[in-house]
């Protein structure tokens, strides 16, 4: 069975294995270096306990565990405050209208403004899953388990949640937006910049990013076309997030111009439709499959379960679900339909 739980120090090698197999963008939030990752796991566990490490805002790292094998097959994270106490960089896409009354000329001029407008919003990040699981319920479990966690620990998070979606990359690994803009200023390839972004303080972005707004019309055509476009690979996740109520606004990733999805925390589908219930036993192993979570902080567990009956505040699920959650009859759980 599939279980989502806080990452532990002994997951480190398996997480590195998954991170290494993923495409570039993951690295901006999930380091591929074992030391950095160990520190991240440590910080995450402190966050789950409600502590903070070095005064940094909480960051939560989850793993998807196959309870049959004990193997880790995916990761997902929440940064309680985007930027983690530093500025969170985006471009904000806006338009000016250059018009001459006398000449009867009017032109819409699109501009990318450097922006920190999403700083301190809650950020969903570091989503990775083994390829063979992409079309399974495990995928939805891993992604949405974070929203159940947010619903259960609402006070730890901001009123808005954002997600950066990976932008367009060609089959040869080129990122048109990066090649047209960032490369000139950072003097490195996309992947390097992206990795630095995951490892270092964001000082290097303040130091290297072009300090003024950028005119879209001066970007290469490929870069212009890539603005706000999601990478093909992210479409399943994008669909899932849109069903949750996320929408693309005017913010773009500064490296690849991928869209940044935004939602109000309190109107997220999972937050609105999930319910607290009391755990009871079902002797059948059938019923609609739902997401179920239980446990506070570092005891948080989330899995998929058939629901035999759900009346008032009582929820009947198989006992093996109890075991996975580490809970027993009468314990509170949170349930949401798939």
């Amino acid at each position: 069975m599939w279980l989502v739980r806080p990452a532990r120090p002994d997951d480190l090698d398996q997480i590195l294995d998954i991170a290494g197999a993923q495409c570039a963008r993951l690295s901006s939030t999930l380091p591929r270096q074992s030391e950095a990752l160990a520190r991240k796991i440590e910080h995450s566990l402190a966050s789950f306990r409600g502590d903070t490490l070095d005064g940094e805002p909480p960051r939560f790292l989850f793993v998807l565990e196959n309870t049959d094998t004990g193997g880790v097959d995916g990761t997902a994270a929440i940064d309680a405050r985007a930027g983690n106490g530093q500025p969170f960089y985006n471009y904000r896409r806006d338009a000016l209208i250059h018009a001459s009354h006398e000449l009867g000329v009017s032109r819409r001029v699109e501009v990318l403004y450097p922006s920190h407008g999403l700083t301190d919003h809650t950020l969903l990040c570091s989503f990775s899953i083994r390829n063979e699981l992409r079309d399974t319920n495990a995928f939805e479990l891993l992604s949405r388990s974070r929203l159940l966690f947010i619903a259960e620990h609402r006070e730890w998070f901001s009123s808005r949640v954002v997600v950066e979606i990976q932008g367009v990359q060609t089959e040869t690994g080129n990122v048109p937006f990066w090649d047209s803009l960032g490369r000139h200023f950072f003097n490195m390839d996309f992947e390097t910049a992206d990795q630095y972004s995951g490892m270092l303080s964001k000082t290097f972005i303040a130091e290297l990013m072009p300090p003024n707004p950028v005119y879209v019309t001066l970007l290469s055509l490929a870069a212009q076309k890539a603005l706000g476009q999601a990478h093909q690979l992210t479409l399943p996740n994008l669909e899932l997030l849109k069903r949750e109520g996320f929408q693309a606004g005017s913010y773009l990733d500064i490296f690849d111009a991928g869209p940044v999805l935004e939602a109000r925390t309190d109107t997220l589908h999972t937050v609105v439709t999930s319910r607290r219930k009391t755990l009871h036993a079902s002797h059948e192993d059938s019923g609609d499959v739902c997401l179920i979570s239980a446990g506070d902080g570092e005891g948080f567990r989330c899995t998929l379960t058939p629901v035999a009956e759900s009346l008032d505040d009582q929820l009947k699920v198989p006992v093996k679900t109890w075991q996975i959650l580490g809970k027993t009859a009468g314990d509170p759980v949170r349930i949401a339909p798939l």
Partner: protein
Amino acid sequence: MLVIRPLESRDLDDLYAMAQNAGKGLTTLPADRDLLERKIHLARDTFNQRCAPEAGLYLFALEDITTRKAVGISGIQARVGLDEVFYNYRLSVTVNASKELGVHVRTPTLHLSNDMTDTSEICSLLLSDDYKGGGNGLLLSRCRFMYLDEFRKHFSDKVFAEMRGVSDSNGQSPLWDALGSKFFDMEFSQADVLSGLGNKAFIAELMPKYPIYLPMLPESARAVVGKVHNNTAPALKMLQAEGFNFNGLVDIFDGGPVVEAFIHNIRTVRESVNRHAMVTRKPIDLEVPVSERAMVSNRSFQDFRVATIPMNCVDPDTVKLPPEVAEALRIESGDPVRLAPLKDSGPWAGHHYRERNIQYREVR
């Protein structure tokens, strides 16, 4: 004989013919009869002091005394940007560096600038094809520095010239194609003409206001920023010899450079000397090589005139002038005149001019 004198109303036809032959690329003197007439009026008002000297447009004609025709023109705009806004791009550098990453990147950047506002501009140089060569271009250009020096209080300390930028034989400008055309819904030539007509509101309305990072433009456009059109290269060389330097500003349309100099540093100004005229009946051969000629001017604001004479007419305290030159300059024996070498030829070799008369005219 050729003489420089203020432009007059009767020069309109000659001027129009010259402008027509000049073709594109001379935005300050388009072949537009009405516009040229207005310019002549403005120049007349300037010389006749019917407008403030600081607001004046000083246009000079090169006249062939024998035919009485104007065969060249050059000018000084006492101040630019007084009514209209005067735009340039400043070619600047943005440096981004990260010690942590060992990255250090310099990005040439164009910033919209109005920094030439209120500065004197030398402009509108045009010489009839038949008269090219023989130092006529030098005379037409350099006579202005004598005037600037003589009436320095009416001009800014610094003077500049906008040099025509690179365009191909069809009049297409690589910088315009890559930059201007993305913001202005018109052809380069149209924008250039509109701008030349002094109609610049459209620039404020349509111009990009944020800096332009050059690496985002194609190589063809980057290559012409601060570069002059081939036809303009000799003019640039001449100005550089006078002590003009690229000041970091370029034309917003074609990227042509702006060169500037402090008036007191201009070679013609530094090397000019005062003498008293001595009209002589002794025959003087005026047809000496360009390198042996000096410009000689009267000192009149309203009727400034400049001719050339052989350098060896210059004596320690006086200068010998043949009667026809004195007449062309409207002066008599004893009148003060000003002299400067027509051509830069290193230290003045072998003339009276040299020995005792180097002046330091540094002004602080």
